[in-house]
Symmetry: C2
Subunit: 325 residues, 2 copies
């Protein structure tokens, strides 16, 4: 059931089999599998999964390619709730390992927020990442286009940029490297650095060799209408026309609640085994938090794997039902 | 486009980036990703993927839990074709590695079949498995119920058997072991051996300890109506009433075309790396063929991984587009 400030008391008194942190594609898929394994599951979701911003999921098998990310999340939540799972809109503040059981301290409510503690045998960390967007005075005009023709994922949306005039918005020399694989899809590329990093001679000469442009002046605003970005206005008032854009400014993990566990990582991502288990035997990590491809269908599969392994663990340590019980 | 006997000539003259063997969930997901990476893809499908038989996909994120497997396949085929992929209804007979290129010999047409050869740089093996069903004189009454309340997958459908009177139809002592994890969902279990294997004292005593029944007499027919199996009639005319069933008779890999490559295996399944690459650098394996969980969402994710790795391989060995080209 949907938990809220009013009805969460009984939930704080029980021990869930699993608490899933994050109600995006990975967390919901895990929740559906867990409930079907007859395991009690609480999903704690702070809202706005990365897929929430996707206006069209172009590559998810079984769904028409114009399906919005949020409709997958809505369907997933309904599905999970229909199986008897618990769902709470809240922020996971900290997790304590009490030996066999985790205590999960949660901040509920945006105003007059209160802390509550929920308990579970297993944790699935499915809290994903949040993309950095260009910091402009009027962020509205970033959000007007982000997820429409201003993309954040080359893997997902390179195809949408095919043979188009693309602006790449990078925050570091490392992030700027995306222009080269983007060159698979289009040759008309302008790299915007906004003076956020120094363009080395090496990068400059490699860009020049491909005929890509560099624009170092900071951006005043994105321009366009009806969610179609048509270019950028720079601080010096010049306007650069574009047909589409790719933001490559990095992302932040939503997982400070895991810091104290000192889990094995690789370049910021959690290392997991084939069943999505981290270096802690009762903490699993799925979706964008873990090493691998940041794709909705991969997160959904990770959820199935983690849930199945947790079921195996719990089942093997529990006597089966018998005809005598 | 859909290829057929009439229009396949041009396709035999080109070199595809990838030929995908199998048009189930994994193969279609791979095809969608490959086409979006601007890679030419041919899917060769002999029809009747395992998911084709699923009357309801209960655990696939984003789809209502009563979605038939075949509607996912239909949507996936449309999606793939809309991206310009080629699809051929045919049987892959043999694959020859000509060094940089594979030659794939295909049998087209059920009557007056002819052999044709298609070429590709990469192969994705996505031809899955086929479940063995109980061999009865009148197989019709197996197919009447298989995929409805006569299940083949504990992971998928254990939940559907919760607290029900279940018949388990096994073909070997190994397959019979499924009764114990099934005991997570229900305690009312009858194991049907059909005299196909000897029940050891050990198995008999473990079954007895849980209160599970054994029935060794062969089955005459399944009984029921409107796709609801309600029991079995045995060869000695006794009728055993059941509410649902689980077939555990093993499965056969659809991959003889790979035999000569001597790929690394583990218990019959192909071993792959994290991106679904087999021990041959240009052959990938996805879905039920490979080691891992046989789930539609896992196969779909495998397709995304294999396609992405093939794109990386091809992109890195190809000069990017430049503004001068």
């Amino acid at each position: 059931m949907k938990l809220s400030k009013q009805n969460l008391q009984p939930a704080t008194e029980k021990i869930y089999d699993t608490i899933v942190v994050g109600g995006g594609a990975g967390g919901l898929s895990a929740g559906i599998y867990l409930q079907r394994y007859l395991l009690n599951t609480l999903i704690i979701d702070k809202g706005k999964a990365r897929s929430f911003w996707m206006t069209e999921l172009h590559n998810y098998l079984g769904l028409p390619p114009d399906t919005p990310g949020r409709s997958v999340l809505r369907q997933g939540k309904e599905h999970f709730l229909s199986l008897g799972g618990d769902l709470l809109d809240a922020y996971v503040d900290e997790i304590f390992d009490e030996g066999e059981i985790f205590a999960v301290r949660v901040k509920v409510g945006r105003q007059n927020s209160k802390y509550h503690t929920f308990r579970a045998k297993y944790i699935i960390a499915a809290s994903g990442i949040i993309d950095y967007l260009p910091e402009l005075d009027n962020m509205r005009n970033v959000y007007d286009y982000a997820g429409y023709n201003l993309h954040v994922c080359l893997i997902c949306d390179g195809y949408e940029m095919k043979d188009k005039k693309v602006g790449v918005f990078a925050s570091s020399a490392g992030n700027a490297e995306v222009v080269f694989p983007l060159g698979w899809f289009t040759k008309d590329i302008t790299l915007f650095t906004q003076e956020l990093f120094e363009v080395t001679d090496d990068l400059r000469s490699r860009l020049k060799a491909q005929g890509y442009q560099i624009e170092e002046t900071p951006i005043e605003q994105f321009i366009g209408e009806n969610h179609e970005m048509s270019g950028v206005e720079l601080k010096d008032s010049r306007v650069i026309e574009l047909e589409t854009g790719l933001i490559s400014m990095g992302s932040k993990y939503h997982a400070t609640y895991l810091d104290k566990f000192d889990l094995e990582k690789q370049g910021g991502n959690l290392v997991t085994d084939k069943m999505a288990r981290t270096s802690h035997p009762r903490i699993f990590a799925i979706g964008d938090l873990k090493v691998g491809l940041n794709q909705v269908v991969v997160a959904a599969a990770d959820g199935a794997l983690a849930a199945t392994q947790i079921w195996r663990d719990i089942r093997r340590s529990t006597p089966p039902k018998t005809a005598f019980s």
